[in-house]
Symmetry: C2
Subunit: 301 residues, 2 copies
């Protein structure tokens, strides 16, 4: 059982509960300053920040090339990090890409991402999780609403809200090809979910979320307050979002695939404890465990 | 077997085929003139026309009231016209509503709808099919791409493309709550689907389309040419679309339900023959059979 206090209990009651976030969103003491004051304030208020065309078309092309190499490699497809769509062998996600792809390793240390993460989290950071998500055309499935933090806290033992995700669009995000949807302001409320977590739940949950699922009433309250935003834009656009921002996405029947790279940056001062749900930790490719050295910026010079 | 020539064969080959439409889109000889020349030309070109706020908030309120009455009536829920979501008892669609609800009967004969249909189809018309679709919040399922005409032709024996649908939004259509998506210009191409139609297929297909499904390559060609449009707007907005316009919708995980009323108007000169797939006709509530008297406009005076 965890040795630190659980300030965000969940899955212990048979009724959902809404609690106020007790952690900062933008931490003081930033070792880097990449965002403008206005953008940092926007992130603090909304729990996300959309930056159009942060990466250039040539960079996106290179990332897509690497993605094609990975998804067509039998070796990669055989890895446990590779998750297929329910009922087919189409690749849905590949985890821990930054560890077996130089291109994605470099991307995770690109200053445009890394310095933003360091600024918001007010400390050095490391990669807690990385993955590519491929939402194929015609058959991309929905991801139901969730706060990443609820899962990371309960199932991985992340103590506090001091992590963020960045999603880099590798294809154009239209309104209609299942874009990421976020509920602005939802990061300031912690939705404690009902029920218990079963063992080895993660294998299923990566395909279709069934535990740690927020209830309808809580979601209605969050959207009544903040609405829903689905940032759209060309490939190379980026969304930074807080670990507790409620998000999800609809299905994609259009011919246009939606591919994104995700990096989760966690503060080195927020490294994982034992899972707060009392079960064994999920595997390393879902949640990097142990103490990590600060991630070093990529020196392109 | 049908006595009239089958100018739109489908489900006979093991390879999909694209054919040119041989029928007009906007027929001459209109007995009514409701649309402007520009709007009629737009409909001819795109295969659909979006009219924002065609119905007033008070009218929408009345329709929603009636919808609530219908979905909560045990008598209605027990009818074969009432279709539930896969794996639940939530009402997804109610067919033939204009025949057992005065309010929806009146709506089907409202001049704003009826005169537009008469103008486009160049003749008197009747209601081939009516239904309400409820795409509930949180769990609304997707409808895969389809041309209504392909199904109506093959399974119901509609001889020619001389019918249109109108969808009246009873809730706000956002970009993210699974709005109707159409492929502009797709109505001018007939996508012949592969495979055979099994008996009693309709019971399944109303929940999840599995036959008469256009192939990926054909869909890609249509979207390469026309893109995708998902008209959004407040409740009371209306989309008129041609019977052969390729359309579909994504899932809806948002808390916002999406409810629409559909009327399909068919020309009285295009009444149903034997199904072109050679099987028995589907039931009356899916496709009204026999010769119909011209639908009479509602006299509100």
């Amino acid at each position: 059982m965890p040795v630190v206090e659980d300030v965000y209990p969940s899955r212990v009651s048979d009724r959902p509960q809404l609690a106020r976030r007790v952690d900062p969103v933008v931490y003081p003491g930033a070792p880097a300053s990449r965002l403008s004051k206005e953008d940092a304030a926007l992130y603090e208020k909304d729990g996300f920040l959309f930056v159009e065309r942060l990466f250039q078309p040539e960079e996106v092309q290179r990332l897509n090339q690497e993605l094609r190499r990975l998804t067509s490699s039998e070796q990669v497809r055989a890895r446990e990090e590779c998750i297929t769509e329910p009922g087919s062998d189409v690749v849905r996600s590949i985890f821990r890409v930054h560890e077996f792809s130089d291109v994605f390793d470099w991307l995770s240390r690109d200053k445009r991402l890394l310095d933003t993460a360091r600024q918001i989290l007010g400390s050095e950071v490391y990669v807690h999780q990385s993955r590519v998500n491929l939402k194929p055309g015609f058959s991309g499935k929905e991801f139901y609403w969730h706060s990443d933090f609820e899962t990371w806290h309960m199932e991985d033992g992340m103590p506090r809200m001091r992590a963020l995700s960045v999603s880099i669009a590798l294809t154009e995000n239209h309104a209609f090809n299942g874009p990421l949807m976020v509920i602005p302001g939802s990061h300031k409320t912690y939705v404690a979910c009902v029920g218990q977590t079963p063992e080895n739940h993660y294998k299923q949950s990566l395909k279709k979320q069934e535990y740690g699922v927020p209830d309808h009433e809580s979601l209605r309250r969050l959207t009544d307050q903040g609405g829903i935003v689905a940032p759209t834009g060309p490939a190379g656009s980026v969304v930074f979002f807080d670990c507790n921002t409620m998000h999800g996405s609809n299905s994609n029947i259009t011919p246009y695939p939606r591919s994104n790279v995700f990096f989760v940056y966690n503060s080195v001062e927020n490294s994982l404890q034992e899972p707060f749900c009392g079960l064994r930790p999920r595997p390393e490719h879902i949640a990097a465990r142990g103490r990590f050295a600060p991630l070093q910026p990529l020196d392109r010079g």
